[in-house]
Chain length 228, copies 2
């Protein structure tokens, strides 16, 4: 019995890219889970796991926090359908994880921060304005976002170049079938998709076609997520 | 009999990061090669390979251009000590290659472009000033470089984060022993090292310790390269 503690916005939107990684890891392994929505100001719900951020899972009595640790736990606890078939595969995923967290999320965040703010639960808006405002040096997130989009769209698309080169040669980052590296890179797109109408990719980009394939997986799990 | 056509600067400096990838690939496989130095304005020397850029190799009668294609060729032609032990390893290297070419080289180039210019062969300086000046929008490369270093050093170090996360967990990007992904990432450091006294890494960075290990490989091949 696995419970996933998942970030929630207005209208039951579920934007957290790190929670999406956990959901795709669970789905890949064919595991079932139930979800507990957690607002930004409901950190008490995940205190049992000694965590201030989601995702957190409770697997039986075992709490596990952090998407990477969750993926490792799932492979240890459930041998079938491994997320990492060997040590080199784990290394590759660790590299892609670090790249996505910094290069991709870093390029994407300024482009959607205003849209994110607009769709946070009303009771969480003061929190997000303070924490993100501190990071960005402004609380006028709409103006910041509009300015960021001018230079930031080409920068985001450029940041995706390593994935583009692989996807020019094969169907998924992991090969002929999707794997954890694909779930990692899908996650920032689902983050944006859940809150923003912004079109991040040109339709003739191989990353666009890959994303379509990814959204179809697991009975359209990502595609069904509430959009902007 | 393998000949490597290698970019040459003043005082026999050999900065090209792409040529360094080819040299480490050759050394990894235990192959011997001779080098033909090629200045920026000596493209006639590599016209036989239908290439305008180095590295180019001539392996017997077979010309091969482009560092990635050279690595593939060497594994096909010489089965021993593979650079890519299987298809997932090749995929990982392709991803790291794309990342290094764009994120790392892109962050590094502005920081050393003035030093590069100063050490180009005198007869190649007009060429480099025109081609790089066009890309950067200025021909005052010294001023551009000085300004770039203020913001650019933290950006370069941040860009290395995916490698840092892997090197926190293991000795080389490829695992317990160095592999092609390590040669890829070493190459921009050798590029800078051959022309610039700039200290790119903090000494307590795991990437710094990794670079020291890399410079020791193959009888100190990289360490012996002429520095700034």
């Amino acid at each position: 019995m696995i419970t996933l503690y998942d970030l929630v916005f207005q209208a039951d939107r579920r934007p957290s890219p790190f929670c999406w990684r956990a959901k795709y890891a669970l789905a890949h392994k064919g595991l079932k889970w139930t979800e507990v929505p957690v607002g930004f100001t409901e950190k008490n719900k995940i205190a049992f796991a000694d965590s201030k951020t989601v995702p957190v899972i409770k697997d039986g009595d075992t709490p596990v926090k952090d998407s990477w640790a969750i993926a490792q736990h799932l492979d240890r606890a459930y041998g079938e359908k491994p997320l990492f078939k060997d040590e080199p595969a784990r290394t590759h995923a660790l590299f892609v994880n670090g790249w996505c967290d910094t290069a991709v999320n870093g390029a994407l965040f300024p482009l959607v921060v205003g849209d994110l703010y607009d769709r946070v639960r009303p009771e969480d808006q003061a929190y997000i304005l303070e924490s993100r405002g501190k990071r960005l040096g402004t609380t006028d997130l709409a103006t910041f976002q509009a300015a960021a989009r001018e230079k930031g769209m080409p920068a985001l698309r450029a940041a995706l170049e390593p994935a583009r080169r692989v996807l020019n040669a094969q169907k998924f980052l992991a090969g002929d079938a999707p794997g954890y590296t694909d779930y990692i890179l899908l996650s920032p797109f689902l983050w944006a998709y859940s809150v923003s109408p912004l079109k991040l990719l040109a339709e003739d980009d191989v990353v666009y076609a890959w994303r379509e394939r990814m959204l179809d997986l697991f009975d359209g799990m990502g595609r069904k997520a509430k959009g902007a």
